[in-house]
């Protein structure tokens, strides 16, 4: 049973990898992508910021930054719980 699952997953992963080789666009040429042109053009009009990176990090992709802050907060909670004051062994 385990061997069957292993063979099945190997076939699926191999098939997906072979399918990945048939890329939809040539390497180094992403084709028509309207998003980056929109961000570069509209950042000064939408947010009146000189720094496009700030506008993307804190406004267009704000959910990413809020997840980052949540990850940091979870790390602090776990580190404080792990290294808290404990009893001496003796």
């Amino acid at each position: 049973m385990k061997k069957m699952i292993f063979i099945l997953s190997a076939v699926i992963i191999g098939g997906l990898t072979c399918g990945l080789l048939d890329v939809p666009h040539p390497f180094g040429d992403p084709g028509v992508v309207p998003m980056d042109e929109h961000f570069l053009g509209q950042a000064l009009k939408d947010l009146s910021t000189e720094n496009v990176v700030t506008s993307i990090v804190f406004d267009y992709r704000g959910f990413d930054t809020i997840g980052e802050a949540a990850v940091l907060f979870t790390a602090i909670c776990s580190v404080t719980a792990l290294f808290r004051e404990g009893r001496k062994k003796s």
Partner: protein, 159 residues
């Protein structure tokens, strides 16, 4: 842990405050300069690592109140960030609600024409500064708990 030698402590006295001021500068100007809130907060957290390495754990732990880093800095920054994100909620989450157009800014010269992105950058800087300082302080305390008191000389120290 024992403090390092007099030369290292004098160098720390000289340079630690410059590092703190530089980190605050990067945080405050993070919205318009290369850099930003996260990186500036990491520089501010370097200050407490500098003091811990040169002065040793016992002195710094008697001097520092950890609630400042944990409650005041970290959670204030996170709450300010999430509150600003929720305040744009009548339109959408993360809506930039008090930005003004660039032409109007050039006539009025208002502070923070970028709206919420500038204040969010500063809030993230405050949060990261408190969080990384808290990590360094509590990990150093964990090292002190494990090490025995009988060892007088640390092998890595220079006296």
């Amino acid at each position: 842990m024992k403090p390092l030698s007099l030369i290292v402590r004098t160098g720390c006295n000289l340079f630690a405050w410059f590092m703190l001021v530089f980190g605050v500068n990067v945080v405050v100007h993070g919205y318009a300069s290369p850099g930003g809130g996260f990186q500036g907060g990491a520089i501010v957290a370097t200050f407490i690592a500098f003091l811990l390495v040169s002065y040793g754990g016992e002195k710094i732990h008697s001097w520092v109140n950890e609630k400042i880093y944990d409650l005041i800095l970290e959670e204030t920054g996170l709450l300010l960030f999430i509150t600003l994100a929720f305040m744009g909620l009548p339109t959408s989450f993360f809506y930039n609600f008090f930005t003004i157009p660039w032409e109007a800014y050039q006539q009025t010269g208002r502070l923070f024409p970028q709206g919420t992105t500038a204040i969010m950058s500063i809030a993230v800087g405050i949060e990261v500064a408190g969080a990384l300082s808290m990590v360094i302080l509590s990990m150093f305390k964990g090292i002190r708990l494990v090490s025995d008191r009988q060892i007088e000389e640390e092998p890595g120290h220079d006296r």
